[in-house]
């Protein structure tokens, strides 16, 4: 069985003046996969994600996301992806229910669909009691789960998560990953960045960016063997440190 590829990247480049932020990267992400996109600060991850989500055009190379060209079919692309960043894009001065309705509307769901989705989200997160509470009054851990549910409200083919669990307590962090697994069972592909290396180990495959290049790619097991490491933390440090004791 050859799995469908929801992200195809070929020799993608982005330069800012003389600075090469993303240097000829190529990789694929398969449908239903949890793909961990790792790298040091300043390695080019954010620039790459901006290109893949249709926010920034590439300097050269080509890529399709959910079947759409990242430069030529940006609107179609955006309709078919979800995005959640470390600074959640929820409106603090709207209630939980209003936020869901707002995002449902943005993604073109009908009133009937919005109603159904609202019930679904509230039930799944068990937050019916606070549906009329302002987001600003909701604890961080819950907000994170809400932001994720809102990011996939339109059943996108793929969802991009940029450091989604930064700062939350260890139990909430694990509950968040359960939501991620659930989403993949519904066929959604997950593209995630994180600085928690135990979370990297929850991914099906991982790529590691160093100075604009993808220096390694593979399953956790493959990387551990290849870099003779006992965990991803070690792999990360070996790859990110240049030529040191490897």
């Amino acid at each position: 069985m050859t799995a469908e590829k929801v992200i195809k990247v070929k020799k993608l480049n982005k330069t800012f003046g003389k600075f090469i932020a993303v240097n000829n990267i190529s990789f694929d992400v398969k449908k239903g996969e949890i793909f961990g996109f790792l790298g040091a600060n300043g390695a080019g991850k954010t620039t790459a994600i901006k290109m893949l989500t249709g926010i920034l055009s590439s300097t050269s190379g080509e890529a399709t996301v959910a079947g759409y060209d990242i430069n030529k079919q940006r609107n179609k692309l955006k309709e078919n992806i979800g995005y959640m960043s470390q600074k959640f894009s929820l409106y603090e001065d709207l209630t939980l229910k209003e936020n869901i309705r707002f995002y449902g509307g943005i993604y073109g769901l009908s009133n009937k669909q919005i109603k159904q989705k609202t019930n679904e989200v509230l039930e799944r997160l068990n937050l019916q009691k606070i549906e009329n509470t302002l987001i600003s009054e909701i604890p961080l851990g819950w907000k994170q789960k809400i932001a994720f549910s809102v990011a996939i409200i339109h059943n996108p083919k793929i969802v991009f998560l940029d450091e989604p669990t930064s700062g939350v307590d260890p139990i909430t962090r694990r509950q968040f990953w359960n939501l991620i697994y659930q989403a993949t069972q519904d066929g959604i592909t997950v593209f995630v960045t994180t600085h928690y290396m135990d979370e990297a180990e929850y991914c099906d495959r991982i790529s590691m960016m160093v100075e604009g290049n993808i220096k390694a790619i593979g399953s956790v097991e493959q990387l551990l063997v290849k870099y003779k490491s006992k965990n991803m933390d070690e792999v990360f440090i070996k790859l990110a440190r240049n030529n040191e004791n490897i």
């Binding site: 961080l140 700062g167 260890p170 600085h195 979370e199 990360f236």
Partner: protein, 298 residues
């Protein structure tokens, strides 16, 4: 010494800190470990004299944080979570600025910041705003050290920082400790706790435990097993029905399973086998800070 006695802080109806007490002894590297919203930043703002507690009192080097705020500001270096750097000034201009504010010069205090500043030197004419996260963090630390403080207060210095820079940063803190600095540092990364002399675990404004990292993990009350299976997500669900289970959490590519004392390896194996799960490995392990933290939370 940093002395915190029965500190509470309320914001309207929100109780951010509830009767928090602990001491940081001179020369210690002390970690305040807890998630966002636990009250860490409120406590830092009280200690750095930027916020007045609703109840209780705190002192640094016997100076009261309310009455003697001016004296305290001279002896502490403070690095807030959002680094207080001037993004439109260069690396060197930032450092110069902070030195001037404290009536000193870079040269006078170069010894303390030397190791850190050397890593920044190639970029000394670059604007702070154009530095990578790891470099910004190093510059912010240099600025907090430029007046040779006795006490260093770092509020989540490693949030959003990659594992390599984080490791470097902790090595810098340990080095500073050898120069006699007392450091209070907060972090949501449980693994960082293991590098401190003593830690306070904080959640919902309350201290859950204060001890050395070693003692905190030793106090963990259950037998802890590490299980590796092909599909840990599925295994975790199945383990919900394991009667000997006290708790089960994913930990990277493994599961940490806390069981009742009498449980042995065969019990776990046979339970998994009944559910058609074959374990790649099952073994007893020592708990980590994160295990202890989750145990205290529940």
């Amino acid at each position: 010494m940093i002395k915190i006695e029965n500190i509470s802080k309320n914001y309207n109806n929100v109780k951010a800190l509830k009767k928090v007490s602990f001491n940081v002894k001179d020369g210690q590297l002390f970690g305040l470990i807890g998630p966002d919203g636990a009250g860490k930043t409120s406590l830092f703002r009280i200690l750095t004299t930027l916020l007045i507690p609703s109840e209780g009192k705190a002192s640094i080097d016997n100076f009261d944080t309310v009455k003697n705020y001016k004296e305290i500001r001279r002896i502490i270096g403070y690095m807030p979570e959002r680094f207080s750097l001037y993004m439109d000034l260069t690396v060197q201009e930032n450092l110069n600025f902070f030195a001037t504010v404290f009536n000193t010069t870079i040269e006078e205090n170069y010894d303390l910041i030397k190791d850190i500043y050397q890593m920044l030197e190639p970029f000394k004419n670059r604007k702070a705003g154009d530095l990578s996260g790891g470099m910004k963090q190093k510059l912010a630390l240099s600025c907090a050290l430029i007046h040779q403080p006795k006490y260093l207060l770092l509020d989540e210095p490693t949030t959003g920082v990659d594992p390599v820079s984080r490791k470097d940063f902790w090595e810098m803190l340990q080095k500073l400790q050898t120069k006699g600095l007392t450091t209070l540092v907060s972090t949501p990364f449980m693994d960082d706790a293991e590098l401190c002399d003593e830690v306070a675990l904080i959640q919902n404004g309350e201290i859950m435990s204060i001890d050395s990292p070693k003692n905190i993990t030793q106090k963990y009350p259950h037998k802890l097993w590490e299980i590796i299976t092909l599909n840990n997500y599925h295994t975790l669900k199945i383990l919900d029905n394991f009667t000997n289970k006290i708790s089960a959490f994913a930990f990277g590519n493994a599961i940490h399973l806390a069981c009742s004392e009498k449980t042995n390896k065969e019990d776990i194996e046979s339970f998994l086998a009944q559910n058609n799960i074959k374990a790649k490995s099952i073994k007893i392990i020592n708990p980590r800070i994160e295990d202890a933290f989750m145990e205290l939370m529940t």
